[in-house]
Amino acid sequence: MKGDRLPPSDHIARYCGGSHISEDGSIAPTAFHLRPGEEYVSAQWLEYLRRKDRSSEIREVRRIFNEKLKIGISARIAVLNCGQLCTHVEQASGLNIKVLHEPAADDLSHCGIHDTAQDEDLIAELIAEKILETYLAVEPS
């Protein structure tokens, strides 16, 4: 439900546009900065999708992103664990962030990383350190 904290064991997927991808293909911390007007960093709740495995989850996430965004060939999807990223930010900086369910009518798995604006540049660097997996945002042919 809206506003519920995601379980620490669960995972989120964040769309990272091409301008946030380093030349070596890694995801830069700028992928976790707020877009103008945003209150939280948007992501997708993977376990909410109830798919059998990560590959299926990523396929579904690609479909969702494709409906909302113009996906570039250099864009990526970053997968993070909710508990790890919140704990790491708190331990490294003393700042608390939280990942909350933010369902939309056309996107029930939508969620958000809240309270990154406290010290956005520092928190984004710390979040980027906890990326577990990356995938191409475009479905490989």
Binding site: G17, G18, S19, H20, I21, S22, E23, D24, A28, P29, T30, H33, L34, R35, P36, L69, K70, I71, G72, I73, S74, A75, A92, S93, D119, D121, L122, E125, L126
Partner: protein, 243 residues
């Protein structure tokens, strides 16, 4: 170097609007002026297709050194900007033209300026990366010009103050600001986000001198001409950020 855009409007504009308006546009060199005129010409060609909305206006561009260019559409004495008579948009429209020019042309002009520097040791590589980022933005959000020219200007000035800086990892924030990152082998990190007006925000991770495997993590605000001195005095960043 100053140039002026001078335009006239027809009588159906609201009476409280001045019939004639002059907008001063300042260029830092003649090439910028040429680029601006080129850009306006391109806009003229684009809107030539929309001729016939009704209003008449003429855009004049005065360049220094007795150079004068009159931008008239062929076949009509004074048609330039097609305007719906129900909307009074001329002044805003001209500012939109200037914004569009700034957005598209100024970015490339600033990047070119960096790339042509003989003092910045990684000038070409940095410029190529910036061009690449601008292309990526064009692919993913073609309706927006997202690289901030104000941030780019600050980054250019930073490079002018620190021409021997190592080649950084360069990306953009969602606001279009330049974000440069340097990492060393011992987990040290310096990230700088370039803001307008020569301001910067930085993040630095530095190994703690007394506690092995621990990092000091700091963030702050500074300026392009002082940030490296600030961080070098405290943390010796020059050792791994400078060539």
């Amino acid at each position: 170097m100053d140039s002026q855009i001078f335009y006239t409007k027809d009588s159906w504009f609201p009476s409280d609007e001045s019939r004639d308006a002059t907008i001063p546009v300042h260029f830092s060199n003649e090439r910028q002026g040429d680029l601006f005129v080129t850009g306006i010409n391109q806009v003229i060609e684009c809107f030539d297709r929309l001729k016939g909305y009704g209003a008449q206006s003429t855009l004049w561009s005065y360049l220094p050194a007795n150079t004068e260019t009159r931008q008239d559409l062929p076949g009509e004495s004074s048609s330039l900007m097609p305007i719906d008579p129900s909307e009074v948009l001329t002044k805003r429209y001209l500012f939109d033209l200037l914004d569009a020019w700034r957005c598209e042309v100024e970015i490339y002009d600033l990047v070119s300026h960096i790339g042509q520097s003989s003092e910045i040791i990684n000038a070409t590589r940095i410029a190529l990366r910036l061009y690449q980022l601008q292309e990526i933005l064009g692919e993913e959000s073609p309706d927006n010009c997202d690289m901030s020219s104000d941030s780019l200007r600050s980054f250019r000035d930073f490079l002018a103050f620190h021409p021997r800086v190592r080649y950084p990892d360069i990306t953009l924030t969602p606001s279009g600001n330049i974000y440069a990152r340097w990492k060393s082998d011992n987990k040290s990190l310096l990230s700088i986000q370039f803001l307008p007006e020569r301001k910067v925000r930085f993040v630095s991770f530095i190994p703690n001198r007394k506690h092995a495997n621990e990092l000091n993590r700091i963030s702050g605000n500074d300026f392009v001409d002082t940030v490296m001195d600030t961080l070098n005095r405290a943390y010796g960043v020059h050792n791994w950020v400078m060539e």
